[in-house]
């Protein structure tokens, strides 16, 4: 069932410096009411999409794409300039945690106040009060004014109230970006619970891993328009591809050779087990990197491939150590080499691949393309991968599934 639909939503802001702030400007404005187009900013131009019951929808896009404006319109904080949206069911929106907290009031008082502001009924807050306090771990300071709280306690209290909000449709902005790792973990698993309990979630974040993990579908906003709307992994891969400008396929320029007089790279691509090109790779499946290159002279050529994570840290390097050509010169010709990385090896996130060919004795690099390829490793929410049921950030350059033995004494 469709629970939320937006129909050609647009939002125009009049730029701040031209906004009449004093009576004098307004009076002057009546006599000089020509407003030229430069004074306007269209935060949203034309946004339409539908969300079904129980769907977890991610909204991504670069800064200024209109994500926050869209959430503000759907939360009814501001009105669209044109277009229409329809929402079926009780909406809870979290564009910030701790909205309306007051420093002079105690933790207990703030729980009630914040709960009411978020749209909870008094009876509902009363029922969940103990749960909220327990979740926040601030029981001892319940009657202390908020102004004496540390920022960590403040955040914990704020999030505890928010986490117990129980709407049919939850709208969440980047609130996960704040707080320590433990706090984010709690937050993510709570959101997973909400998603799994069949409620609808709209989630805006810059953290592509969090979006990929939580959302089944993603809407990509660009300059106030919907650029793409579809399966989370595919849209995120396209988005990241455009952000980094590296794709999962590489081809040499027709008029320029990539390499020296002994060897040059013709093409390279990232492939799945069926040898089809892929942008997104399931963390559980094997992934291959295939390179096609031309060899011209009599040299020992060793193709090698380097894998880097998002931060540019080299995860590992591999070269062809087992082919027939390991230590004898290759005849001229075109060769294709493929390396397979098993499933449950990479960590989730973006992987950048460098493709090269060298001769080791004496050392000579024939070609190296540092940012040749890139693909996205997606972790899913099924329980059969290394992260098991843990939904928080899972650090590490690799993510193998290892055997564990536990014995009771």
């Amino acid at each position: 069932m469709k629970v939320l639909s937006t129909d050609h939503i647009a939002k125009r802001y009049l730029l701040g410096d031209r906004l009449p702030n004093s009576l004098r400007d307004t009076v002057a404005g009546i006599f000089n009411s020509k407003r030229n187009e430069k004074d306007e900013l269209w935060a949203l131009r034309d946004v339409s999409f539908d969300v079904s019951d129980g769907e977890t929808l991610g909204i991504i896009g670069s800064n200024g794409a209109g994500k926050s404006t869209l959430l503000k319109i759907l939360s009814r904080i501001t009105k669209p300039t044109s277009g229409r949206a329809e929402i079926r069911g009780r909406v809870g929106s979290l564009l910030e945690v701790g909205t309306g907290f007051h420093n002079e009031l105690s933790g207990r008082e703030n729980i009630y106040l914040n709960g009411a502001i978020l749209g909870m009924k008094r009876a509902e807050i009363q029922k969940k009060f103990d749960e909220i306090v327990e979740f926040s771990e601030i029981e001892r300071f319940l009657d202390t004014p908020l102004k004496h709280y540390s920022s960590g306690m403040y955040m914990r209290l704020a999030f505890s109230v928010a986490a117990h909000l129980d709407p049919e449709i939850l709208i969440v902005d980047e609130v996960l970006a704040v707080g320590d790792v433990g706090f984010q973990k709690k937050c993510l698993s709570k959101m997973r619970d909400i998603g799994e309990s069949g409620r609808t979630v709209l989630f805006v974040s810059h953290d592509m891993r969090a979006v990929a993990r939580l959302c089944g579908r993603v809407v990509w906003l660009e300059n106030g328009n919907v650029r793409a709307d579809g399966q989370a992994d595919a849209v995120i891969a396209d988005y990241l591809h455009e952000q980094t400008n590296i794709s999962s396929e590489w081809k040499a320029d027709a008029d320029k050779r990539t390499g020296n007089e002994y060897a040059n790279l013709i093409s390279a691509r990232v492939i799945d087990e069926e040898r089809l090109s892929v942008q997104t790779h399931d963390i559980r499946k094997a992934v291959g990197v295939e390179m096609t290159y031309e060899v011209r002279g009599d040299k020992v050529i060793t193709p090698n491939i380097h894998f880097f994570d998002e931060s540019g840290t080299c995860i590992f390097v591999t070269h062809d150590w087992n082919s027939d050509w390991k230590d004898k010169p290759r005849p001229a010709g075109i060769y294709t080499s493929t390396v397979w990385v098993p499933g449950n090896f990479f960590s989730e996130g973006r992987i950048v691949v460098a493709v090269a060919a060298s001769t080791y004795e004496p050392m000579e690099v024939h070609f190296v393309v540092w940012e040749a390829l890139s693909f996205y490793v997606a972790d899913s929410v099924d329980g059969d991968r290394a992260r098991g049921n843990f939904t928080g950030p899972f650090p590490g350059a690799v993510r193998p599934i290892l055997d564990w033995e536990t014995a009771a004494e």
Partner: protein
Amino acid sequence: MSQDQITIIEPKRFLSSLDLGDLWRHRELLYFMIWRDVKIRYKQASFGIAWAVLQPVLTTAIFTVIFSSVARFDTVDVPYPLFALSGVMIWLFVHTSVSMASNSFVSNTNLVTKIYFPRLILPLAATVAALSDLLFSVLILGLMMVYFAVAPSSQILLAPVALLMTLVLAASLGTLFSALNVRFRDVKFALPFLLQVWMIASPIFYPSSLLPEKWRLVYAINPMVGILDLFRSAVFGTSIDWQLIGISSISIVVITVLSLAVFRWMEDDFADIV
């Protein structure tokens, strides 16, 4: 639970209804906001409740010293201190609530930009919260009536009507200025001045009978005239000038309708400009 609750989001229209149903659905939030404002009001000031008592008492004392010995207004059988206090308490409530309500959006920016609720709740809560001060004044008035041995008549039953009129007037003006304050920061400077002029133009420390008979009905366009007359007649059992009160009542209705219309027209833009 409430799958049939449908929210429609549409552009601002020139004239649209106030959506009082939405206000009703958020009545618990209104209650919490009043409770918050009252709580903070007495927590932040170091003298807390003492202020609520001292302000009307001291103002009344000053008026009494000046006007009962120097100017000598004819307050029709009511001892001047009682007369002054009855005016001062109503005025102080209007003054405090309108001043507080006018700041309700500007001082709660994060609420307006981060969450939806019927915007009317903020100025309403500020207005109602100021009633707590009036409660103390009522107690003081009661004590002073005992002291001056002025017994109320059955007309005292009309006192709540006068207070209700005051509340409606204060809430309307508070709402109007809260909205204007978001867009025009001049309000911050203009409002104290307007309130001062209004105080002098209202029969607070002088009786409305001071004016010639033929001007009195024009004078009643100032709603404070009717409110104060009704309140005093109700409390002190003096005769009631219904004509005066009628004109002031019409005035209150007009002010309320205009204020709500202006508010409704401006409220959709609050989050974008506050």
